[in-house]
Structure formats: structure tokens, C-alpha cells
């Protein structure tokens, strides 16, 4: 790939045996590239290692073998905190801290600066399609969809190059899920963001395009571009349509 923002080469992840738990292979020899400004969607049954692969990209998880490169450099040579600002993770269950939406948007590490001026906060909220009046609302009062979009706005304030999305719509009802899908696709277009998303939502797969990686038990079963909103591999089609065993 000519301009890969992430290059994953022969990545494996295993947990050692410990008291009460057997050793477990989570990811086995994964190689995949993510093109700058494009999208990679990770699909597969529960426990297939999708979220672990996503967490290896921003180094919340340490692979036991293989290399991950970000902008050409192995990520172990980068400061993990800087990497995580540039490749922002949005978790499956949105985590909001105590306080208002404004407080949540302004959260930042004491050791790092963040431009959280009023105009920047309003801009971030507008980008994710939220009403500006929400700024002063207590975060616990938000709906699931609003919470997820606030976490996306919080990530955007760090001006990331990549959004890592871990099942961003799985905890939402269909109308809210659609709003989040709209938001993600709009951001990709307006900001030129690279998106790596774990999802079971065919609509998000179709709208994001890019490439699709199908994982089963930590191994790559299929890796192919999404053409015109469709996929070629039968196993993938079956999985996305819900008819996979």
C-alpha cells in the first residue's frame, strides 16, 4: 500500500497462563495495512480478537510478536500518550466523567495542553451533530447516542489523524445508531480522518467502504476491499447478513 498510516505486520497477542486461567492466544499472525484517509472495518464473532487488535493499534495492548507502524515508525518508538492523541479510541460503552458535557470535553492530562476554548468546544459539538445547549448539561442526563457522540467530540478536540471505534453503535437503539453512523461518515469526509472500526452494523461497513478484515479466533479469514457497498467473500456476506453459523 502506498500511503499506509498503520502497518500491522505478523502481529500476535497471547496471554500467559495464570492461576485459574489457561494460556490464551488472542491474535495470531495478523498482517494488515490501513490507508491514510481510508477505512478499515473489523468484523467477526465475539471473542475473535477484533477489539484486541484495535487496542494494539494505540498500544493499550502490547503484542507478544510482530510490529505495528504508525506513519512509518514502529509504535514502540513513539510516546504512547502522543500516539493515543493522534489515534483516538472511542470505546464501546461511552465513558463520561463526573460533571457537565463541557467538563467532559475539557478533560485532558495534567501534563498535556489542550485548546479547549469556547469556540473549539462548540465546533466539536457541531461536528458530531449535537445541540450547543448540551454543553452545560450534566453528562449523566444524556441519552446513549448523545453520550457516544460526546466521546467522539472529546476525541476530535485532540485533532487526531485516526479514529479507532470499538463497536460504536452496539449499545444504541437503531435511530441513535444511525445518527452515530452519520456522524462517523461525515467526519471521515470533512476531516479526512482515517477510520478503523469494529462493528456488526452492515450500514456502517457499507458507508465507510475501504477494506474489511474478517477475524475468527484471532486469525484472518478474509481481507478484502469493500466494492460499491458490497463484499465478495461469501463467509463475510453470511456474517454481515446474520446467517453465519
Amino acid at each position: 500500500m502506498q500511503d499506509a498510516i498503520f502497518q500491522v505486520q505478523h502481529l500476535s497477542l497471547a496471554y500467559p497462563a495464570r492461576r485459574g486461567h489457561r494460556a490464551a492466544t488472542i491474535l495470531d499472525d495478523i498482517s494488515v495495512d490501513v490507508e491514510r484517509g481510508s477505512a478499515l472495518t473489523l468484523v467477526g464473532p465475539s471473542g475473535s480478537g477484533k477489539s484486541s487488535l484495535l487496542r494494539c493499534l494505540n498500544r493499550l495492548e502490547e503484542p507478544t510478536a510482530g510490529v505495528v507502524r504508525f506513519c512509518g515508525r514502529p509504535i514502540i518508538q513513539l510516546d504512547p500518550r502522543e500516539l493515543r492523541r493522534r489515534a483516538a479510541l472511542v470505546q464501546q460503552a461511552p465513558v463520561l466523567f463526573e460533571g457537565t458535557v463541557r467538563d467532559n470535553l475539557m478533560v485532558h492530562a495534567p501534563s498535556a495542553a489542550l485548546d479547549a476554548s469556547g469556540s473549539r468546544l462548540r465546533e466539536a459539538l457541531t461536528e458530531v451533530g449535537l445541540d450547543l445547549a448540551l454543553l452545560e448539561r450534566d453528562a449523566v442526563m444524556l441519552s446513549g447516542g448523545e453520550r457516544q457522540r460526546v466521546t467522539i467530540a472529546r476525541a476530535l478536540l485532540r485533532d487526531p489523524q485516526v479514529l479507532l471505534l470499538d463497536e460504536p453503535t452496539s449499545a444504541l437503539d437503531p435511530p441513535n445508531a444511525m445518527l452515530v453512523v452519520e456522524t462517523i461518515c461525515r467526519l471521515r469526509d470533512t476531516r479526512g480522518l482515517t477510520i478503523v472500526a469494529v462493528t456488526h452494523t452492515p450500514e456502517l461497513v457499507r458507508r465507510l467502504g475501504g477494506a474489511l478484515l474478517y477475524l475468527v479466533k484471532g486469525r484472518v479469514q478474509a481481507y478484502e476491499p469493500v466494492h460499491d457497498g458490497g463484499v465478495i467473500d461469501e463467509r463475510l456476506q453470511a456474517f454481515l447478513s446474520g446467517t453465519h453459523p
Binding site: 493515543r84 483516538a88 465513558v95
Partner: protein
Amino acid sequence: MRSAVFGIIELSWWQLALALLLVFVIAAISLRERLGLERDLVIGAVRAIVQLYLVGLILAAVFSAARWYWVLMILVVMVAIATHAAVSRLGKPIPGVYWIAATALTLSTAATLTYVIGVVIEPRPWWEPQYLIPIAGMILGNSMTSAALAGDRLQSDLFARRDEVEARLALGFSGREAVQPLVRAALRAAMIPTVNGMMTVGVVQLPGMMTGQILAGASPLTAIRYQIVVVFMMAVATTLGSLGFVRLAVGRYLTPAHQLRRYLL
């Protein structure tokens, strides 16, 4: 048999046996109410008698030998037992937890003891076992309880709030910054009983040390002076014990790459 020596009523074996009757009262209540505690009560009573008697023998020997190295050895044994007790109260194992607990308890006890013995009470010699051993015991007991409380709270919070910690890490926080709210909660949980205790000391009940001194014939005004020292001493022991343990233990859950070791939770 009653004999007054320096204003103290010495208890005879017969009188101790009378006190033991109180245990039988509890056993009878347990039987009647079907609490099923009779066996544990008997074992507990026997252990209390044997343990206290042995401690009395050892302390009497150390007091009469009056050698600093015996005092030091007693302190080392006390730290070892307190370390084991603090660690055994944790829900899940932490790698290297014995060293963590031993370091936290040794440092917190040494710091508090040095100040109280060397600056406040100033016995001569400084290792006078009559002062050093009981005071070290109180400091160590508080450090141990607070370390165990703080460690337990830290563990349960790290599990329950792991997504929150990782959300901070994903936002570019360092490992230490990401767990700071949990560290704060653990320290508060460990310190609040002591702070609350300071509010009610002497009002709700007379503290053990003060009661002991008054029973031993000391003037209540002398006893309260010691008790004031003890209250502040125990507060600082609680703080240092929990702080040392939590700061060292939380490091085991983090990697140099600012990751949370989820498999330890």
C-alpha cells in the same frame, strides 16, 4: 486473692477463670439462638489465652534482658506478621505484594516511631522496650489495617472502573494520571475511619491505651496526654501506611508504556 501493688489490683488465675465464664455466656446464647458459633468461640478463647500468655512471657523476657537487638527482633517479627495479615485480606493476588506491604509497613512504622519516640516521648534509652514495643504495635496495627483497606478498595475500583481508567489512557493520560482518582478514593476509604475516630475519641468510649493506663493506676490527666499522642500517631500511621501501599501497589497494575494490566484485575 487480691493484692494491691502500686495501686494495681493484680488478677489471680481464679479471677481470670471467672472472666472466662463470660465466654460461656456467649456460648450459651449462641446455642440457644442456633448461631453455630460455639466451636469458633471456644477456639478463639483458647487462642486468645495462649497467644496473650506467650506474648506476656516473651515481653517479660525482653524487658528483663533489656538489649536493643531483642527489641529490634521483636519489631521485625511484628512487621512480618502484619505484612502477612495485610496481604491476606486482599481479594486477588498482586505480584510482589509481600515486598510492597513489607516496605510500606516498615517505612510508615519507622517514620512514625522515630518521631514519636525520638522527638515526643524521648525515653532513655530510646529503645526502652516498655515504650517502644507497645507504641510500635499500635502504629503497625493501624498501618496494617489502613494498607489492607486501601489495597482492597484499590483492587475493587480498578476492576469496576477499568473502562474509565482506559478512557483516560486513550485520551493521552499517563498511567499514574489515569489511576489518580482511584488512588484518591482508596486513600480516603482507608483514612475516613481514623478521621471519624478522632471526632469521637473519649466521648463514645475511652480508648484502649487510656483505659489500660487508668486501670494500671495512672492519673487520667497523664493518661489523656499519652492518648493524645497516640491518636495523632495512629492518624499519621494510617495515612503513611495506606499511601505507601497504594502508591507501590498501583504501579504493579501499570506498565511503563502507560497500559493497564487487565489480566491482573
